[in-house]
């Protein structure tokens, strides 16, 4: 699988890692989803929902489209199956964005703020990695070995790389 766009593997890794984490967490005792760890965002479920909800918002900023309505908000709990559906849709849509959009295009955000497409994409990648790491911190702090979510893991899963940790 070649890279059609400079950010392609980075974005494909982002979606693969979120989907892998959601699938792993769906296999756990449901009580595990209520666990947390000091210094992280909140509960495991709340963190997963935040990862997917934020990406839904970033894609809405980039395209003007709200994928998989309704908007995921922290005030309403969404099941992991629903989060996986939204993550798959946003992951596919953002690949279409980078194939056609201009990194320097300015976008109006909220509260009168504006940003460029390139910074929003960098934030999307940062944010996903940041909160997935918090999720794995919660798992590790509670004695559960997290699934491998690295770029190496993505490369092996895609069958295009031998690298491992």
């Amino acid at each position: 699988m070649g890279a059609a766009h400079p950010l392609e593997h980075v974005l494909r890794h982002n979606t693969w890692a979120t989907m892998t984490l959601l699938e792993f967490c769906a296999s756990l005792d449901p009580a595990t989803l209520e666990m947390s760890a000091v210094g992280t965002y909140g509960t495991l479920h709340g963190t997963l929902q935040h990862v997917v909800g934020a990406e839904q918002w970033y894609v809405q900023l980039l395209t003007g489209q709200l994928l998989d309505r309704p908007r995921i908000r922290r005030t309403e709990r969404h099941p992991l199956t629903e989060l996986a559906t939204t993550a798959a849709l946003t992951g596919a849509r953002v690949l279409e964005v980078v194939a056609t959009d201009d990194a320097t295009r300015r976008i109006e955000m909220n509260e009168g703020r504006g940003s460029t497409v390139g910074v929003i994409l960098a934030q999307l990648v940062h944010h996903g990695n940041e909160h997935r790491t918090q999720a794995t911190t919660i798992l590790g702090a509670n004695g559960i070995e997290p699934p491998p979510l690295s770029g190496w893991g993505y490369g092996r899963a895609a069958g295009i790389s031998e690298a491992e940790e």
């Binding site: 392609e8 593997h9 890794h13 009168g112 960098a122 934030q123 911190t137 979510l149 770029g151 490369g155």
Partner: protein
């Protein structure tokens, strides 16, 4: 500047920001950790920059320089901050050039084996790895009552004037 170059520039900024912040902590603070992360602040910071040394070396096709940060020997966080800056300069220059993401390169693994991967996978891992360990540092700091520096891509964009407020 491409989307990928923007994401790399963000990684450079965030790692330098976190390295500078952590290096300025007291020795007792740098010895702090929290469950579910990889270790102390010092160990995590050294690993973050040492790994970046190895990613740069793999992309250059040459071994890390004599003054490279290494988990096995580096203790001076001043050196870590200086190398983070030097690596930012190297990656910033690399990101501006044409990058053949499908070109296969080799990497020497920890067990001595040689692993082959496309450059696109190494870059996905490099960006993931930086975000992952900066997030762990943020968790350690927060868990121990220290407000972490603001290192998101939106913070970076704001600081550079790419996000207007």
């Amino acid at each position: 500047m491409s989307d990928l170059a923007i994401a790399i520039e963000y990684d450079n900024w965030a790692t330098e920001k976190v390295a500078g912040f952590c290096a300025a902590l007291s020795p007792d603070q740098r010895a702090l950790t929290t469950p579910g992360t990889m270790g102390t602040i010092t160990a995590t910071l050294i690993h973050l920059v040492a790994a970046k040394e190895r990613y740069a070396a793999s992309l250059r096709g040459t071994p890390p320089p004599d003054d490279a940060v290494r988990e096995t020997s580096t203790t001076d966080l001043g050196q870590v901050v200086a190398r983070a800056k030097a690596l930012s300069e190297w990656f910033g220059s690399y990101a501006k050039g044409p990058i053949d993401l499908d070109r296969v390169i080799e990497r020497r693994a920890a067990d001595g084996s040689t692993q082959r991967m496309p450059i696109g996978i190494l870059i996905a891992q490099f960006l993931h790895h930086g975000n992952e360990h900066r997030a762990q540092l943020g968790s350690i700091l927060g868990a121990n009552g220290i407000e972490p520096p603001h290192y998101s891509a939106f913070n970076w964009g704001h600081e550079l004037g790419k996000i207007s407020s």
